[in-house]
C-alpha cells in the first residue's frame, strides 16, 4: 500500500492550496460554528453560506461541485433526526400510515428537520474542502500553532504516518483468514458466531503485538537518527499578508451570514 493511500489531498496550484493551513483550519471551524448558530429556517443565510462554499470550491480549482459529490457521508446520520418531523408541535402538513400507526408531519417539525440537514450538509462540505486543499501533515502543524497540545499532535502525526503500514498488516491478517476458510457449496466456512468472534479477537491481539513490537523498532530507528523527544519540521509556516486579509474577509462574510439569518 502506498503511503498516501488514506490521503484526501488533491494537488493543485490554487489560491486555497497556498493559504496558510492555520487560516484554512480556523475559517472552517468558524464557518461550522456559524452554521450551528443559525436559527431554524434561516433560508437567506443558508443560501449565503452555500454561495460562500461554492466560492471556496471555485477558488480551490477542484470544480464547482467537488465537495457536493463527496458530502453524502453524513447523510445516514439524518435518520437520527427524523423524529423531529413528528414530535415538534405545529400545524399538520400531512399524515401517513405505517405499520398500523399514523404519523403526522408538522410544519414546525419539517422546518427543524430540513434546517438540521442543511446545517450538517454545509458543515461537512467545508470540512471535506479543508482536507482536500491542505496536506495532512500541514494540518497537524497548523493545529500545533493553534495551541493543540504537542503530545496529541505528535500522536496524530504518528497515527497518520503508520496507518498505512498497519493497514497492510490488517490486510495480511484478513487474507490469511480468507485463505484458511475454505467452504464447499452449501456449507459455510468456519464455526459458529462465537468461534468467528474469537478468531477476530485473536487477529486483533496479533495485530496489537505486531504493532507493539514495531513501535520498539521505530523508536530505536528514531534514536539512531538523533531523536530527543522533539519533532522538527522543514516546513515552517509563516502568515503572509494575504492570509490575514482572507481571515478578515471570511469573518466579515460569516458575520453577515449571521445577521442575514436573523431577518
Amino acid at each position: 500500500m502506498h503511503f498516501d493511500a488514506f490521503d484526501r489531498y488533491h494537488e493543485k496550484e490554487s489560491f486555497l492550496h497556498r493559504l496558510d493551513p492555520r487560516v484554512k483550519a480556523l475559517v472552517t471551524v468558524i464557518f461550522i460554528v456559524s452554521n450551528a448558530l443559525l436559527p431554524d429556517g434561516a433560508w437567506l443565510a443558508f443560501i449565503f453560506g452555500w454561495i460562500f462554499l461554492i466560492a471556496a470550491n471555485l477558488l480551490s480549482q477542484l470544480g464547482i461541485g467537488y465537495t457536493l459529490k463527496r458530502s453524502l457521508v453524513a447523510l445516514p446520520f439524518a435518520l437520527i433526526a427524523i423524529t423531529v418531523l413528528f414530535t415538534i408541535p405545529g400545524k399538520p402538513l400531512f399524515t401517513f400510515q405505517l405499520f398500523a400507526s399514523h404519523f403526522t408531519v408538522t410544519d414546525a417539525g419539517f422546518l427543524r428537520f430540513v434546517s438540521i440537514l442543511i446545517r450538517s450538509w454545509l458543515s461537512v462540505q467545508m470540512a471535506i474542502l479543508l482536507v482536500a486543499v491542505t496536506r495532512f501533515p500541514d494540518l497537524i502543524h497548523a493545529l500545533e500553532h493553534l495551541k493543540v497540545p504537542a503530545i496529541l499532535t505528535t500522536i496524530i502525526a504518528f497515527l497518520y504516518r503508520y496507518l498505512f503500514v498497519l493497514t497492510d498488516e490488517v490486510f495480511r491478517l484478513l487474507r490469511a483468514r480468507e485463505s484458511r476458510s475454505a467452504a464447499t457449496t452449501g456449507n459455510r466456512s468456519g464455526g459458529g458466531v462465537l468461534w468467528r468472534a474469537r478468531v477476530a479477537g485473536n487477529m486483533a491481539g496479533q495485530l496489537f503485538l505486531r504493532s507493539y513490537e514495531r513501535s520498539d523498532r521505530i523508536y530505536n530507528a528514531m534514536l539512531s537518527r538523533g531523536y530527543s523527544g522533539h519533532l522538527y519540521t522543514l516546513n515552517a509556516h509563516e502568515m503572509k499578508p494575504r492570509d490575514y486579509y482572507v481571515t478578515a474577509l471570511a469573518i466579515v462574510v460569516i458575520f453577515v451570514t449571521q445577521i442575514l439569518g436573523r431577518f
Partner: protein, 312 residues
C-alpha cells in the same frame, strides 16, 4: 474501500446545538488536560512513538470484522481495549487521536462536535473499561476476562447513552425514540466489542503476559479508577432501563429542572435582537451583545493591520 465508518456513534456537525457542543468540549478538554499532565509525568520520550503506533493500531483494528448473520458483522471500537492494555490516561489520548483523525481526514464525525464524540467514544469508554477491568485485578484469569467483556459491553452502552442524551438535549431527536434505538443497536454492537476485546486480551495474556503486567499503575490510582468506572457503569445500568422504559419521566425531570428549555431553544439564537438570551432582556445583555460586535470588528481590524505589517 479503505475506510468505511463502522460506528453509528460519530455525530456529524449540525446535529448538536452549539451550547451542547461547547459543554462537551469543556469537559473533554479538562479530562484531556489531566490525561496529558499525568502521561507527561509518568512516561518517557519512548512512549510517544509507542502511543502513536498504538493509535494507528486501534484505527487499523477497527477494520477487523467477523460475519454475524444476514450481512451484518461485528467490529471492534477499541476504547476499553486501549485503556486496558495502555492504561487509562494513555488509552484516552490514543482514542482521542483516533477520533480526531476520523473527523478531520474522513469526515466521520464533525469538527465542532468532536468534543462530544471524544467524550462518548474515547473518554467514558476508557474510564468504564479500565475501571471495571481493574476491579478484578486480583482475580483469576477467567474472571478477569469475563469482567473485561462486561466492561467492554458497558463502555459501548455508556457511549451510546451519552450520545442519545446529547442529541436529545440539542433538540435533534426525540428521547422516546433515540434512547431505545441507540441502546438497542449498541447492545448488539457491544456484544461484538466484548467478544473481540476478551479474545484479544486472552491472546495477549497467553503470548506476552509481561505487557499487561507492566502497564499496571499504582494500587492507589487503580482504586480511584475502579471507583470512577464502577460509578459510571452503575449509573448506566440503573439509568438505561429507567430511561428506555419511561423517557417521559426523564423529559419531565428535565422540564422541572428547567434545563430542557435552556438547551433546546436558546442555542439557536445567541444574539437575537442584540440581547443575549441567557441574561434576559436587560441592559447588561444589550451591552454584552455590543461587546461581541466590537470584538468581531476589532478582530477584523487587527487581522488587516497585521497583514499590512507583514507586508512591510
Amino acid at each position: 474501500m479503505l475506510y468505511s465508518p463502522v460506528q453509528p456513534m460519530h455525530i456529524p456537525d449540525g446535529f448538536l446545538s452549539l451550547a451542547i457542543s461547547i459543554i462537551c468540549w469543556v469537559i473533554t478538554a479538562s479530562v484531556l488536560g489531566l490525561a496529558i499532565s499525568k502521561t507527561n509525568k509518568s512516561l518517557g520520550e519512548k512512549q510517544i512513538p509507542l502511543m502513536g503506533v498504538m493509535a494507528a493500531f486501534i484505527f487499523a483494528a477497527q477494520m477487523i470484522n467477523f460475519p454475524v448473520a444476514g450481512g451484518t458483522s461485528g467490529h471492534l471500537l477499541g476504547g476499553a481495549l486501549a485503556a486496558i492494555v495502555l492504561g487509562p490516561w494513555a488509552g484516552m489520548l490514543v482514542m482521542t487521536s483516533v477520533i480526531a483523525v476520523q473527523g478531520l481526514l474522513f469526515q466521520d464525525g464533525g469538527l465542532v462536535v468532536m468534543g462530544a464524540n471524544i467524550l462518548n467514544m474515547g473518554l467514558v469508554t476508557a474510564a468504564v473499561g479500565y475501571g471495571l477491568y481493574r476491579s478484578a485485578a486480583s482475580q483469576s484469569k477467567s474472571v478477569k476476562l469475563g469482567v473485561a467483556g462486561v466492561a467492554a459491553w458497558l463502555s459501548v452502552m455508556t457511549g451510546a447513552l451519552l450520545t442519545s442524551l446529547q442529541l436529545w438535549l440539542s433538540g435533534t431527536s426525540d428521547l422516546q425514540v433515540v434512547i431505545p434505538a441507540m441502546l438497542g443497536v449498541h447492545a448488539l454492537i457491544g456484544v461484538g466489542e466484548a467478544l473481540i476485546t476478551v479474545s484479544a486480551l486472552a491472546f495477549i495474556i497467553q503470548t506476552r503476559p509481561d505487557l499487561l503486567a507492566e502497564g499496571s499503575e499504582s494500587a492507589k490510582g487503580s482504586r480511584n479508577w475502579v471507583f470512577v468506572g464502577g460509578l459510571i457503569a452503575l449509573v448506566v445500568v440503573l439509568f438505561s432501563p429507567l430511561a428506555s422504559a419511561s423517557p417521559d419521566g426523564l423529559e419531565r425531570v428535565a422540564t422541572d429542572m428547567g434545563f430542557i428549555n435552556a438547551s433546546q431553544s436558546a442555542p439557536y439564537s445567541i444574539i437575537p435582537d442584540y440581547t443575549l438570551p441567557f441574561l434576559g432582556e436587560t441592559a447588561i445583555s444589550t451591552i454584552l451583545a455590543g461587546v461581541i460586535g466590537v470584538i468581531v470588528v476589532g478582530a477584523v481590524i487587527v487581522l488587516v493591520g497585521r497583514g499590512i505589517k507583514a507586508r512591510a
